[in-house]
Symmetry: C2
Subunit: 448 residues, 2 copies
């Protein structure tokens, strides 16, 4: 029996679950994991890194460390540039061309600015550790600058944060930012009063977290407002220019930090496949998650456009990506072990997303959770969120540290990771000179 | 009684100890702390951040958080550009001009390349978190690249690290690097054998750690060699060029990462004082640590050139900086409380450094310690080092986390912070294109 070659692009929740569930193939297959980062990222806690509650290594784990005992798994930090479905080849930036028998594309989404890509410069999204560090550096540096200068108008601008998008990311960022400013910073500053800090959450729809029932959206709104967040619904962004935003109601908010909690789109590589793409560049897959006409190629996670038997689409959530990864692993394991080559899509099980509940956290003791008929909000929803996320972290080496850290934050209202690095001082100096408070690209000026 | 204004430049061990020991002045004085970073850095553990054993927030604490309960202390993240001793004024980059009654200059040293400042680009020093992150990123990315490419000569270059300088920093870096490569990475890589990794420590003198007795230097050498470090004594560096080093014995070492554990010099601001400077730009101070002719101005820590009554110089060590800070605080407290203005240097106590022992760590269970007549090496020296550093961390919020982390590393030989961020992928891609393996300035290419 010839050894099969399985190539996995991306090691987020989908790719990681796939490779974990492929365990036990032993000598029957080689697995190559390709990721542009050296780590798997625990994305649900990324907003905590951005808001200085956790450090980067606490929410990430080196991929090759996760698979260290799996001799059949090879990991490379590299980027896939193109996939040739006819030749069954992936072209990597560094490693050259890799042939595959099975290909699992699990690349995850990138931030979508809905056609306004220029906004990326002034309104960072939140997809990677670099994004999170950029947000953290921008926010912390602005407050430091506000303390050092002597100009009330600019100070106001420096301690204003606008969050765009009322989905889970936007709500989490806005809530954590309000807590950071109004509770954590409260006793730390002398010249500025951090309770003057303004956090504005802007969304084009008529309610927050529109994937949840209306009563929970309303509760999320109340909980955010109780933290002091100004929520502007039915409001779109017309322009972002590095010193603030222009809104569709004609108003302008001057803000040193504008954070993008907006949309998701598939990375450019999906366009090299030469096949049908759905909204946002997602790959339209069959009921078994394979690409039509290419039974050895699967697309899972946020970039899969998967329609389930009941006509609904699989959601872009971590649990869906994990379920997809496990299901595809089951299919491939079975076919590899059978040894008769790549199977027929029609003979494979149909993917169905099992909804075990969704939740969004707003702040300390504040959250909403929706589990079937059960709708929770406030403290108990937050407790549920905490328990679920700690359980999800199991297997992850960081769980003890994260628990200690969180518990500490909980009782003390301090933040462990309020450390600015990445050329903070050069940024600060340049801002003082130019009067430009924006938080973009401090690294560009690095010169030793 | 008029309120006094105390300005402190720098919040390393010297500045921090000074401000802590000034407690209780209440309404009698205002204290302004100026630091170019927003955090105090626990420098003795910085090499652990560089070698991915600890995360940045675990060895640092926001300065304004340390002083949050001290209403008389104001903190600004800013840089002093010049000091006018005659007018008693400090000019800050952002905050403008600040007048002082007392000035405490505790800026700490910067990396000295002994006149070869161009080497800074290819051989990072280890003074700040940015330095440590740069070293970490360079080393981790090189190993990742070595795994991804298919070229034996370049691979060898990528997994070679040269450390320059056989003082405490150089020894700690070399030991930790050898452990990282030969133990931590051992099971993680497939294409490269991390035990092939080469760590070379170069020093111009005839023994390592020349501040210690000869028997301990010899022990440190043996302990390093037992970790697989190649030590080259009596060897100077002639050139560093980004792909390796040329040595004074005519040999050449190709290495993607060259780390500088070399000298220390005073920052440029000391030259604005218009007074006598000692070797390395240090400020020559009187027996009371004040600047001759300016009894209200004190210089403490690494940038003070202080001669003690027995004719020896105070060493550039954290304990010396802390003792200086406490002594100066005592003097200023007394004079402020007495309310008769700035005192006479001749009436103040003379500074004497109390040596409570020095130690250097080499790796897990490997260290040397010298406490009066006691000379320890190996496991017990390491245990002593561990206890002392954990005790020093007390007061620091991170102690529990650091303890957990260390204990975990100790039992598992894994490293918690092996996470690459800061535009790692762009660097990697550029390296693959240009064939240039150096680890410098990945941020310069950042473009979103």
């Amino acid at each position: 029996m010839q050894k099969k070659k399985i190539v996995v692009l991306g090691c987020g929740f989908g790719g990681l679950s796939f490779v974990k569930a492929c365990k036990g193939l032993g000598d029957a297959a080689d697995i190559l994991v390709v990721d542009k980062q050296n780590h798997h990222l625990f994305q649900p806690l990324l907003y905590q890194v951005a808001m200085a509650g956790l450090s980067a290594p606490e929410v990430s784990e080196p991929i090759r460390s996760i698979f260290r005992r799996r001799r059949e798994v090879r990991t490379v930090m590299d980027t896939a540039e193109a996939v040739d479905l006819a030749l069954r080849e992936v072209t990597l930036s560094i490693g050259g061309v890799e042939r595959y028998d099975y290909l699992v594309v699990a690349l995850g989404g990138t931030t979508s600015y809905f056609g306004n890509d220029a906004w990326a410069e002034d309104a960072p999204g939140l997809k990677s550790l670099d994004d999170a560090m950029r947000v953290r550096r921008g926010v912390l540096t602005s407050f430091e600058l506000a303390e050092a200068i002597d100009d009330d108008r600019r100070r106001k601008e420096l301690i204003t944060v606008v969050v765009i998008g009322g989905g889970a990311t936007g709500v989490e960022l806005a809530g954590a930012m309000a807590e950071l400013a109004k509770r954590v910073f409260r006793r730390d500053f002398r010249e500025i009063d951090p309770t003057d800090a303004r956090v504005v959450l802007v969304d084009g729809g008529d309610r927050l977290l529109s994937a949840f029932p209306e009563s929970l959206s309303a509760s999320a709104l109340r909980q955010l407002e109780s933290l002091g967040v100004e929520v502007r619904l039915n409001t779109r962004v017309d322009a972002i220019d590095g010193r603030g935003v222009d809104l569709s109601d004609g108003s302008r908010i001057d803000a040193a930090n504008v954070l993008w909690g907006g949309g998701v789109q598939a990375p450019a590589i999906t366009r090299t496949l030469g096949i049908e793409l759905g909204p946002g560049g997602r790959v339209v897959v069959g009921p078994d998650l394979s690409v039509p006409g290419h039974p050895g190629v699967f697309v899972i996670g946020d970039i899969a456009d998967a329609t389930m038997p009941d006509g609904t689409k699989a959601p872009g959530l971590a649990p869906a990506a994990m379920q997809m990864g496990r299901q595809v692993a089951k299919v491939i394991r079975k076919e590899v072990k059978r040894g008769e080559g790549i199977g027929e899509p029609g003979e494979r099980p149909v993917f169905r997303y099992k909804d075990k509940g969704t939740m969004a956290t707003i702040g300390r003791s504040r959250a909403i959770a929706w589990v079937g008929p059960l709708k929770l909000s406030g403290f108990f929803a937050w407790l549920a969120w905490l328990v679920v996320h700690l359980l999800l972290l199991i297997g992850f080496r960081n769980k003890v540290v994260v628990l200690v850290q969180w518990f500490y934050s909980y009782v003390s209202f301090r933040r462990g990771a309020r450390i600015i690095f990445g050329r903070a001082n050069e940024t600060l100096a340049r801002r003082a000179e130019t009067g430009d408070p924006r938080c973009e690209n401090p690294e560009q000026t690095e010169k030793r």
